[in-house]
Symmetry: C2
Subunit: 382 residues, 2 copies
């Protein structure tokens, strides 16, 4: 008989990254998943498909109980409201409690964050504080946090180590940086109880190879890959593709980013949950960022491939995957863009056992996989 799964609360599990995290948690055999999501940028349908994929992966002799353990309990709620979070923890008191939290839910559009700072601070900071407050109330002291490479701003050193100065250049980036500082302070306040890991994502791409779940942003995608993928379905044909600057100091002049497959990224969270139980990783703190030396158990890791790809390389990869003949125009540089954002992921490799199994070709294939199968995303009529 398998040992009972630990209950993990994944906030925002219906979203792009959260759904893949939920899937990897279920596939690990270790965890069952509960989520709170207000579906402000996602659909409940995604969560059903996560369960379906995980159930399909069960061995033929799996019991009904095994299947049931893969169902995701969904609380429709808003994490800016403490009562809504409280409800989840209260409900789980009689179900063995929440073992740990992966805090994914947030607003994430850099440009919009500068226009609506109050909403961003509320959704990304007040919500984080609320969550920590309720966790403390229910004595749940383990958390993995979705941070972002934007905390580095324009880094001095490429590839970027975790010890780089944190100097975010947008409201969004500041909400991620402040959340990390708050987590660090909370861990420092009770080193014997709290443990937290912040994962600084570089550029997630692709989706589960089944094409059943994927990135389904509302409106025109702000990021390159979902845009290219949707363009291959015929969308945004008139507007075409704009490339912002080809005179950067990079091999082909266009900006270089560190794309990693979302399944690798998601698996990094399962790695981090296991790492929370280890003492050694918290002893050797990264220095230079104001983090460390306090005895508290907070640590941040880069999740990236450690290999940068230029905009033109990504367009070419998507052309191969989709067969679509992308037309693009080069326009002026966009304010705030930096030439190269490539991670140094060696700390995560070493201490979390994090690895990237998927290559560029698979990222492009799986990005397209979802849009090809579901050109209107989760709202596609079958």
């Amino acid at each position: 008989m398998p040992s009972p799964r630990k209950n993990i609360l994944v906030t925002g599990a219906a979203g792009y990254i959260g759904s893949h995290i939920a899937l990897c948690c279920l596939l690990s055999g270790e965890y069952s998943v509960v989520t709170i999501d207000n579906f402000s940028n996602s659909f409940p349908e995604g969560l059903k498909r996560v369960t379906k994929i995980a159930q399909d992966a069960l061995p033929a002799d799996a019991t009904e109980e095994d299947k049931k353990a893969l169902e995701i309990e969904v609380f429709r709620g808003d994490i800016t409201l403490k009562e809504d979070i409280n409800q989840v923890f209260e409900a789980y008191k009689s179900k063995g409690g929440i073992w740990g939290v992966i805090h994914v839910a947030a607003h994430k559009a850099v440009g919009e964050s500068g226009e609506k700072p109050i909403q961003y601070y509320e959704n990304n900071i007040t919500a984080t504080i609320n969550l920590l407050s309720i966790m403390e109330k229910y004595e749940v002291y383990r958390i993995v946090y979705s941070s972002s490479a934007t905390v580095y701003g324009a880094p001095k050193q490429i590839p970027i180590p975790e010890t780089s100065v944190l100097a975010p250049e947008s409201v969004y980036g500041r909400t991620k940086h402040m959340s990390e500082l708050i987590l660090k302070d909370v861990c420092d306040s009770k080193p014997d109880l709290w443990r937290a890991i912040g994962l600084r994502y570089f550029n997630p791409a692709g989706s589960h190879p089944s094409g059943e779940i994927g990135e389904d942003p509302r409106g025109k995608p702000g990021n390159l890959l979902p845009l290219l993928s949707q363009m291959a379905t015929g969308k945004f044909a008139e507007e075409g593709l704009k490339i912002f600057g080809n005179d950067y100091p990079t091999p082909d002049g266009t900006c270089v980013r560190d794309y990693l497959h979302v399944m690798d990224l998601a698996q990094g969270h399962v790695d981090a949950l296991a790492a929370l139980l280890r003492d050694d990783i918290f002893q050797n703190q990264a220095s230079g960022t104001g983090f460390g030396g306090s005895g508290g158990k907070y640590k941040a890791y880069n999740l990236g491939k450690g290999k940068g790809m230029s905009v033109l390389q990504m367009v070419e990869a998507m052309r191969k995957a989709t067969g679509f003949d992308y037309k693009y125009t080069i326009v002026g540089r966009r304010t705030g863009d930096v030439p190269d954002l490539t991670a140094d992921p060696s700390l995560a490799n070493k201490e979390l056992g994090f690895t990237c199994k998927y290559g560029l070709e698979e990222m492009a294939r799986d990005q397209w996989g979802f849009n090809k199968k579901y050109p209107q995303g989760y709202e596609t009529k079958k």
Copy 2:
């Protein structure tokens, strides 16, 4: 007939500094005051006395209406709850609206902040975000914020200009720094609407010369002057006075701080309210702190005397004021203490018209004035 007063919401007006700010607003003749306070660290009595002092200062021919305008409307409420803040703004819709906000309410104990970070972030950050959100809803775009010299951490340059690097070294300091960053982002988002001034207080001391209002912390005071003043009433006799280190690189070896009279500090807020209306001060932004260059109308000012006083000098000043023979022992340095925190207040002098009218002797006299008259603080039975 005098022009009608503008309604100012002072959060936390029942507290030590808030009560003096409320008083200066009333004495200015320009403003009437409404407050929201949960009395977590204060008593409603203080607000009644503020009104009384202001009424006593009216000319002999003042009308009942003149007197009534000095009453402070009190909403007992908690600013971590949006509904509570909303109630105030909603109530004022029919009373000419809130003209501007002075956001004073916060938790302020540095040591405690490290032990209870979640409560501090909630009370000092969530609350600030809540307030800004409700202000935006009611289209109130003017705010003066109670920041602190703790945002500078251990500064490289003495006296400290506003352009110093912000590197707070405590949870409390980070809540003040983050609040400033949030205010700045909010001002940047709508430069035509939002205007905010952050006032970085150095060491407020004393109280209104009447001795009717003053500093009445619960438990043993964490700050030097209230402690000395309470000791003169016979309290904490057994514990005695501990001076943390006399081997600092200062004239007499004890730490140097920039004490200013709370009436001067409070008047600085009235100056700041007027300055909110000026465009010129926002054009010439301080650089070097990540602040400036954006066109947004946020600006931070030091409020200090620009003259430091050592611990031993303050003990001597209080001895003269109280006649109490302080016994002290020198103990080891306290972690986190820096030798000298003296403000460069020249920017506030120049742009806000801020000046310090009271000297050291008056600070000591007025610190003692309240405790002498009310040895048990606001709970003193008369």
